[in-house]
C-alpha cells in the first residue's frame, strides 16, 4: 500500500467503526467480517476466495480434533492405566492425521501460489540433466495479499486445537473472521486464536480511551511510514540501484538508511493496523519491542517481527525438536559426544529448519534461503561461544549487559543486522557480494567532505528530517524501554496534551511527509510476503 491507500484505509476504518457501533453488541462481529470480506475483495479481486479455502481446512480439521478429544476423554474414564495408554496412543495417531490434513491443505495453497515458480526453477535444471529439455513452464498465479500471514494464523489455530490449548470454533464465520480480520490483511501481525478470536467476536462498546489511543497510534504509524520510511527509501534506492558508482561511506550510509526504512515501514504499518484494531477495542499482539536495543542477534529476533518469531518457535521449533526422531538423535548424541554438544546438536538442527522456513517465508528465492542460513549461522556460533563469554564475565567480574560491554554487544548486533539487511535489499546474492566488496574496497574520503552523502537521491533538508525523526523515535523507544509508553500516556492524559499531540502529529505528517508530486509513491516492503 502507498501513502494515499493508507488515507483511504483510515477513512474506511472510520466508516466501518461507525457501522460497527450502530449494530447490537451481539452482532458487531459480523460488521468486522463484512469489512474484511470487502477489503479483501477490493485488494485481491477473485483470488481473495482462497481465504475461504484456508479457513475451510482449519475449520474442518479443528472441529474433528475437538471431537476426537472429547471422545477420548469420555472413553478413557473407566479404563485401567495400561488401557488408557493404548487408547491415548490410538487417539493421538488419529489426531495427528487430522491435524496434518488441515495443515497440509492450508499450507499447500500457500506453497502452490507463492512457491511453485521457485520450485519449478529449481527442478528444471535437474530435469535437463535427465535429458528433458522442455522443462516445466512457469505459472503466473496471482498471490492474494496477506496469504503469508493468514495461512500461518490458520495453521497455528489447528496446532493449538491439536495440543488442546483451545477448542474448535463451531461457527465457521467466526473462524473466517479470525483468519480475515481486515487490519491484519496486509502485514499481520500473526495472532493466536486464543488471544485474538474472543476479542473479535465478543463485541465492544465505544470507549474514548480506545478511540484516542487508536488514533494516536495510527498517527504515529503514519509519521514513521510517511515522514521517515518513504523519505529514507529514496536515498537508499538511489545507492542500492547504482551501488557500483558509490564508495564505502555512501554504501554504509545507504545500508543504515535502508535499515531505518525497513524498520519504520514495517513497524509503522503495524502501528497503523494495531491502532485501527484498538479503535474497535481489539488488541493485536505486539510485533516490535525496540529491536535495535538488543544485545544479541537472538534477542533481536525476539524483538523484531515478534509474532513471526514466536510462531516459528512455538509451532515449528518446539514441535520439531520435541518430536520422536529428534529425541532419539539427542539420546544418541549424548552417548557419543560431551554433554554440552550433545544438548546443542538437536536444537541446532531444529533451528536450521526454523531459519530455512523463516528465510523462505520472506520470498521464493535462493537469496532468502541464504538470508535464513546467515541468521542460523550467527545464532549457532553464538550459542557455541556464549559459555566462554559467560565464563570470562564471571572470571573478570563484569556484567555483559551493562556499560561498555553492553554497548559493544548492541553495536555488534546492529552491525550484523545491517549486513543481513543489505542481503535482504540486494537484488541477488551476487549484488550482495558486490555491495560488501564495494564497502571494503572503494574507500573514498571525498565522499565525506564533498557532500555526496547529503544528496543521495534527495537533498540536505531531507537528511535533517530523517535525523530528527530518528531522534524522536529513539526517545520514544528509550522511554518505552524504561517502562513508559509515551503514546498510551498521551492518550490517557489531559485533553490539551492529547489534542496538541494529535494535531501536532497531523501537521508534521502533512508538512514533512515524503509524498506528493516531488516524491513518488513507495510501496510497503512487508506486504509482498
Amino acid at each position: 500500500m502507498t501513502y494515499d491507500s493508507y488515507l483511504f484505509f483510515a477513512a474506511y476504518a472510520l466508516i466501518v467503526l461507525g457501522i460497527y457501533l450502530l449494530f447490537p453488541l451481539k452482532y458487531r462481529w459480523t460488521v468486522l467480517l463484512g469489512a474484511g470480506a470487502l477489503f479483501c475483495g477490493f485488494l485481491n479481486g477473485p483470488v481473495a476466495l482462497w481465504v475461504l479455502a484456508c479457513a475451510g481446512f482449519a475449520y474442518v480439521s479443528a472441529r474433528h480434533l475437538t471431537t476426537l478429544q472429547d471422545r477420548f476423554a469420555k472413553e478413557k474414564k473407566d479404563l485401567s492405566k495400561d488401557e488408557r495408554k493404548a487408547l491415548k496412543a490410538r487417539y493421538t495417531r488419529r489426531k495427528k492425521w487430522t491435524a496434518a490434513g488441515g495443515i497440509v491443505g492450508a499450507l499447500s495453497i500457500l506453497l502452490v501460489l507463492k512457491y511453485c515458480n521457485f520450485f519449478i526453477g529449481q527442478i528444471n535444471p535437474l530435469l535437463s540433466l535427465f535429458g528433458v529439455t522442455e522443462g516445466i513452464p512457469f505459472l503466473s498465479l496471482a498471490l492474494p495479499m496477506g496469504i503469508s500471514y493468514y495461512t500461518l494464523q490458520a495453521i497455528g489455530y489447528i496446532i493449538d486445537t491439536y495440543r488442546g490449548v483451545c477448542r474448535a470454533e463451531k461457527n465457521f464465520f467466526k473462524l473466517l473472521l479470525f483468519v480475515s480480520f481486515f487490519p491484519q490483511m496486509t502485514e499481520g501481525p500473526i495472532a493466536r486464536y486464543g488471544q485474538l478470536a474472543p476479542q473479535l467476536t465478543e463485541g465492544h462498546r465505544y470507549s474514548n480511551e480506545n478511540f484516542t489511543g487508536g488514533v494516536t497510534l495510527i498517527l504515529w504509524g503514519f509519521f514513521k511510514k510517511i515522514v521517515i520510511s518513504d523519505r529514507a527509501s529514496f536515498m537508499a534506492s538511489e545507492v542500492f540501484d547504482n551501488s557500483a558508482s558509490y564508495g564505502t561511506f555512501a554504501l554504509i550510509t545507504a545500508a543504515v538508511l535502508y535499515t531505518v526504512q525497513l524498520y519504520t515501514d514495517f513497524s509503522g504499518c503495524i502501528d497503523i493496523m494495531s491502532g485501527t484494531a484498538r479503535m474497535f477495542g481489539i488488541r493485536l499482539p505486539e510485533n516490535f519491542r525496540q529491536p535495535f536495543f538488543s544485545h544479541s542477534v537472538g534477542e533481536f529476533w525476539r524483538r523484531w517481527h515478534i509474532s513471526l518469531g514466536t510462531w516459528f518457535k512455538d509451532y515449528v521449533f518446539y514441535s520439531v525438536s520435541l518430536s520422536a526422531p529428534f529425541m532419539k538423535l539427542s539420546k544418541a548424541a549424548s552417548a557419543k559426544l560431551n554433554k554440552f554438544l550433545a544438548a546443542l546438536l538437536p536444537s541446532s538442527c531444529a533451528l536450521l529448519i526454523v531459519w530455512l522456513g523463516t528465510g523462505l517465508w520472506h520470498g521464493a528465492d535462493m537469496k532468502y534461503v541464504v538470508y535464513g542460513l546467515y541468521y542460523f549461522l550467527i545464532m549457532f556460533l553464538g550459542s557455541l561461544v556464549d559459555p566462554l563469554g559467560a565464563k570470562a564475565a564471571q572470571k573478570w567480574g563484569f556484567d555483559r549487559k551493562k556499560g561498555v560491554f553492553g554497548a559493544l554487544a548492541v553495536a555488534r548486533t546492529i552491525l550484523l543486522v545491517i549486513i543481513g539487511m543489505i542481503m535482504f535489499r540486494a537484488g541477488s546474492l551476487e549484488e550482495f557480494a558486490n555491495y560488501l566488496w564495494g564497502i571494503v574496497s572503494r574507500v573514498n574520503y571525498g565522499e565525506l567532505t564533498g557532500g555526496v552523502l547529503l544528496c543521495l537521491g534527495t537533498d540536505t533538508p531531507d537528511f535533517i528530517v530523517i535525523g530528527a525523526g530518528a531522534v524522536m523515535m529513539l526517545i520514544v523507544g528509550i522511554m518505552k524501554e524504561r517502562g513508559t509508553d509515551v503514546l498510551q500516556t498521551v492518550a490517557k492524559g489531559p485533553i490539551y496534551i492529547k489534542w496538541s499531540v494529535m494535531l501536532g502529529l497531523i501537521a508534521v505528517i502533512l508538512v514533512f511527509g515524503a509524498y506528493g508530486p516531488n516524491y513518488g509513491p513507495v510501496d510497503n516492503i512487508y506486504a509482498q510476503f
Binding site: 461507525g18 457501533l21 480511551e209 502533512l510 508538512v511
Partner: protein, 381 residues
C-alpha cells in the same frame, strides 16, 4: 475531503455510543477525573462529548486551513513554488482578455504559439500545457481559467486522451489531481525546504505575466530520421478509460453552460501517432457533437517538415513547427469559430504588441545561438 469524511464518521460514535453505555456504567471504568469535572458543571456527558468533538474538529480545520495558507504560492512564478508556472500565468492576464484557451500536455505547449496568432490575426490566446497532463487535470485547469476568463473557444489537445498510464494508474492519478485541487497543501507542503519566510504572511496575488503565453519556446532542430509514413502506433487501449471519458464529458458540459465553443485538436506528433486512436477520438467527438480537428497525418495541411520542424526527433515541434500549426489553427478558428481580431482593442493591443516584440527578440536570440552551435559543430567535424 479529509475534513468532511472525518467529521461525518468520527463524532457519530461519540454521540451514538452512550445509549448502550448507560446501563452498564459500573463495569466500565470511565476516567474518574473526567467525571468529577462533568458533575461540577452538571452537563450531561453526551453534550460534553459532542461539544468536545466539535471543538476538536474546529481546531483541526483551523490548523489545516492555516497550513494550507502558509505553503500556498503567493505569486505565479517558479520561485514562489508554483508548479508548471508557465501553464498558469493566465492568472495574471486581465479579466476576459483571452478569447482562445488551449489546454494540453507538452505537445500543446510545443505546438501552439499564441504570439504568432496575435501577430497574424490579432487573436488573443493562451496555451496551458503541462508534461504528462491527464484529462481530469485538463478539467481542473479549465476550472481555474474560468475564475477570471471566459474564452470564446476552448481547444482541448487530444494527446492527453491516451496517456502512458494504465487504467489503474490513471484512476490513482485522477484521485491525486482531485486531492491536490481540493487541498493544495498536499502538493505544496515540501516548500518548507526553500521558502521565503516572508511569504507566510502574504496573500496570494498572481500578477506575473509572460510574453510567450504558455508556449515553450525552442528553436532547436533535431530531425526525425526515419520515414514518417511508417509511423503508426498500434492501438493499446481499445477504449478510452473512464476517468478520461468522464472528464471530457464534464468539460463539454461546462463549455455548454458558459457558452464556450469546444474543439478537440490533435497536433502533429510522430511519437504517439496512431490511426486507431485518432479514429476512436473522432467517433467520440461525433458522439458528443464536437469537432475533432486532426492535424497529425501525412500530407496534412499544416505541412510539417520532420527534418526541420521538430526539436526532439519527432516527439515535439520546435518554434518553426509551432508557427505552422498556429497559423493554420488561427485561420481555422477565425473562419469557423467566430474568433475576431483584437488589434483595435486598446485595452489589449499595446500590451500584446509589447509581448510580441519580446517574443521576436527571444526567437532571434535562440536562432542565433542555434546557428553558432551549428557552426561550432561543423568545425568540430
Amino acid at each position: 475531503m479529509e475534513e468532511t469524511t472525518a467529521s461525518k464518521t468520527a463524532p457519530a460514535p461519540a454521540e451514538e455510543s452512550p445509549k448502550p453505555e448507560k446501563d452498564s456504567k459500573p463495569e466500565e471504568t470511565p476516567n474518574p477525573e473526567k467525571d468529577s469535572r462533568h458533575s461540577g458543571r452538571k452537563l450531561p456527558p453526551l453534550v460534553i462529548k459532542g461539544v468536545r468533538g466539535v471543538c476538536f474538529f474546529v481546531l483541526l480545520g483551523l490548523m489545516l486551513f492555516g497550513l494550507n495558507h502558509v505553503y500556498l504560492p503567493k505569486n505565479n512564478t517558479k520561485e514562489n513554488g508554483m508548479r508548471n508556472a508557465s501553464a498558469f500565468s493566465f492568472y495574471a492576464e486581465p479579466a476576459n482578455t483571452i478569447d482562445t484557451m488551449i489546454i494540453g500536455n507538452s505537445d500543446a505547449y510545443s505546438a501552439f504559439s499564441p504570439m504568432e496568432m496575435w501577430n497574424a490575426y490579432g487573436m488573443t490566446s493562451y496555451v496551458s500545457g503541462q508534461g504528462h497532463l491527464i484529462v481530469p487535470e485538463s478539467y481542473t485547469v479549465l476550472e481555474q481559467v474560468l475564475q477570471n476568463q471566459t474564452p470564446k473557444v476552448l481547444v482541448v489537445e487530444t494527446d492527453t486522451i491516451f496517456s502512458k498510464y494504465t487504467k489503474q494508474e490513471l484512476e490513482h492519478k485522477t484521485a491525486e489531481v482531485l486531492l491536490y485541487r481540493a487541498y493544495p497543501l498536499l502538493q505544496n507542503h515540501d516548500r518548507w525546504k526553500n521558502m521565503d519566510i516572508a511569504e507566510v504572511f502574504q496573500l496570494p496575488d498572481y500578477h506575473y505575466r509572460t510574453y510567450a503565453k504558455g508556449q515553450y519556446m525552442s528553436c532547436k532542430v533535431d530531425p526525425y530520421k526515419g520515414d514518417p509514413k511508417k509511423k503508426n502506433k498500434v492501438i493499446q487501449n481499445p477504449e478510452m478509460d473512464w476517468p478520461v471519458k468522464f472528464y471530457l464529458n464534464r468539460i463539454k458540459e461546462v463549455c455548454d453552460e458558459k457558452g464556450i465553443k469546444l474543439i478537440l485538436v490533435r497536433v502533429p506528433c510522430l511519437k504517439t501517432r496512431s490511426v486507431d486512436n485518432q479514429a476512436l477520438i473522432r467517433r467520440y467527438a461525433d458522439e458528443i457533437g464536437v469537432e475533432f480537428l486532426d492535424l497529425d497525418y501525412e500530407n496534412s495541411p499544416v505541412n510539417i517538415n520532420w527534418k526541420t520542424d521538430t526539436r526532439d526527433k519527432g516527439t515535439h515541434l520546435n518554434c518553426y513547427g509551432a508557427k505552422k500549426v498556429s497559423l493554420y489553427l488561427g485561420q481555422y478558428l477565425m473562419d469557423h469559430y467566430g474568433i475576431v481580431s483584437r488589434k483595435d482593442d486598446a485595452s489589449v493591443a499595446s500590451a500584446w504588441n509589447k509581448d510580441y516584440e519580446r517574443y521576436q527578440e527571444e526567437l532571434e536570440k535562440q536562432a542565433k545561438a542555434e546557428e553558432q552551435a551549428r557552426v561550432l559543430a561543423n568545425i568540430g567535424k
